[in-house]
């Protein structure tokens, strides 16, 4: 129980600090710390495989690319084009949208924490062994699995289209 609160506190604190940093490199590193703590939580849930995959995929692969991009852009400080004293909800376009999303997230989290309850639905299907996890993923959960891969494909195609230079 002590380790649960320890890892939980690290995860929450690091995640909060991610958005509190001006230097994007530190944001990336704090996000990695948050992922590490999350991986610790998976170990406590008797799912070492998921914990290690969390490190390999998120902390090891995806965040390296993040760091790579941040370093290549070489933007040590975020440039702010707006007046920082203005309330986020009153700032121009995209920032107002972001603030609305943040408020929605807080409401949803509050709802989930107070109104939600433990269903115990997943307790029956133990996923401690790799074989069991693979079987579940490719049989019972194959539809969400495939949908997620299509979603990632869409994001990739979108990035390629956005980054491609128009040929004149």
């Amino acid at each position: 129980m002590v380790s649960f609160y320890l890892f939980g506190a690290i995860a929450v604190l690091a995640s909060l600090l991610v958005i509190g940093q001006r230097n994007p490199i530190y944001s990336v590193l704090l996000l990695i710390a948050s992922f590490g703590a999350l991986s610790g939580l998976y170990v406590l849930l008797q799912a070492p495989f998921v914990a290690v995959i969390q490190i390999i995929v998120y902390a090891g692969a995806i965040m390296v690319l993040f760091l790579f991009v941040v370093m290549l852009l070489n933007a040590p400080r975020e440039a702010t084009e707006y007046d920082e004293r203005v309330h986020p909800l009153l700032r121009p376009g995209p920032m107002r949208f972001g603030a609305v999303l943040a408020v929605t997230l807080i409401v949803e989290l509050w709802w989930a924490l107070t109104k939600g309850r433990e269903t115990g639905e997943f307790a029956a299907a133990r996923v401690d062994s790799v074989g069991a996890l693979g079987r579940l993923l490719f049989t019972d959960y194959s539809f969400p699995f495939e949908v997620t891969s299509v979603l990632i494909l869409v994001a990739m195609v979108g990035a390629v289209v956005l980054a491609r230079r128009e040929r004149s």
């Binding site: 490199i25 590193l29 990695i32 070492p48 495989f49 290690v52 995959i53 490190i55 390999i56 902390a59 090891g60 692969a61 390296v64 690319l65 760091l67 790579f68 370093m71 290549l72 790799v130």
Partner: protein, 341 residues
């Protein structure tokens, strides 16, 4: 129970100490072998046959001045070598290097010659390897020097490219061993075919072994893949601005990483501590011999092959090594399905 606990703690400290020592020994071996290959004498002044040269090196490094560029990011500059060294040691924690032993009857329960028996050991090795890139990347960025930054960027590109082949080579062994635990994989290689040929996975996975070794060299940034520190182009790459003990930590990390890659290769492909002639309790001698052979191969390769060009490295990683690794994995999977494990 307490006896086992004490033995476990002593074992952990012993492994740590031996890994530190292995780096010193490797420095000496590297210089002597390099000298032999180049028909020189190598270190011979400090101690008999230059055997105390590593100690002299360490003393020199300790008494050097610790320098930091004025424009460097102080916190990350200090953190980077720590990450490198910590990752190098962490990976060895899950590597088994001998059969269970009671230390000649000293203990009631058998002790595993392994710091931590994790049931996903292979993936832990892979995860730690993927984390070690941060040490190099952060060192490159925080030094605020163009050579360091280029070295760091090259290193991350290289490690990301070769990690895929590395992972696929591991996966084909996992299929044969039917387990993610290194101990189980080693035990699956006990015995011999027709009483002669040891049941090592290298004979079932010769291509997988070559892919693993190649990717392992790239992962540890050794010649002919030592781009992050290509002297002629980048002065010293990511550790250009480091001096004294923080430089020593990168140096240490490189050699410990080599030992870890060799030890994992021994467990995965060369049957770990299994071998003819010696009894099971002395298996660690076989383990040391095999690791030593791979390490010698590493050194030998460094002084034989010139460094590739950067585009050749990328082309080789993505267009040769990765497809071969994928085909190897598919053939292995089909073989396991057809013949059984």
């Amino acid at each position: 129970m307490t006896g086992l606990l004490v033995a476990q703690i002593v074992l952990t400290l012993f492994v740590f100490f031996m890994l530190l020592n292995s780096a010193a020994v490797m420095v000496y071996v590297e210089r002597k072998v390099a000298a032999m290959i180049q028909q020189r004498l190598g270190p011979y002044l400090v101690g008999p046959k230059g055997l105390l040269q590593p100690l002299a090196d360490i003393v020199k490094l300790m008494f050097k001045e610790e320098l930091r560029p004025g424009a460097a990011d102080a916190f990350l500059f200090a953190l980077a070598p720590i990450i490198s060294a910590a990752c190098a040691f962490a990976a060895f924690a899950v590597v088994p290097f001998g059969a269970e032993t009671t230390l000649f009857g000293l203990l009631d329960e058998p002790l595993r010659l392994q710091v931590a028996d994790v049931n996903v050991a292979v993936l832990v090795v892979f995860a730690v390897a993927s984390m070690s890139v941060y040490g190099i990347v952060l060192a490159g960025w925080s030094s605020n020097s163009k050579y360091s930054l280029l070295g760091g960027l090259r290193s991350s590109a290289q490690m990301i490219s070769y990690e895929l082949s590395y992972g696929l080579a591991l996966a084909s062994v996992l299929l044969l061993g039917q387990s993610l635990s290194l101990t189980d994989i080693v035990n699956a290689q006990a015995g011999a075919w027709w009483g002669v040929l040891p049941r090592w996975f290298i004979f079932l996975q010769p291509i997988g072994f070559l892919i693993y070794l190649t990717a392992g060299v790239a992962e540890t940034n050794r010649a002919p893949f030592d781009f992050p520190e290509a002297e002629q182009e980048l002065v010293a790459g990511y550790h250009t601005e480091y001096s004294s003990m923080s430089f020593a930590m990168f140096f240490l990390a490189e050699y410990v990483n080599m030992v870890t890659v060799s030890a994992v290769a021994t467990d995965l492909f060369l049957g770990g501590w299994h071998g003819p002639l010696l009894p099971e309790s002395l298996g660690w001698i076989w383990f040391l011999i095999k690791v030593g052979a791979i390490l010698f191969f590493y050194v030998w390769m460094r002084w034989t092959l010139p460094r590739y060009r950067y585009d050749q490295l990328m082309k080789f990683g993505w267009k040769v090594l990765l497809p071969v690794a994928v085909v190897n994995l598919l053939v292995t999977a089909a073989g396991v399905l057809y013949f059984g494990a």
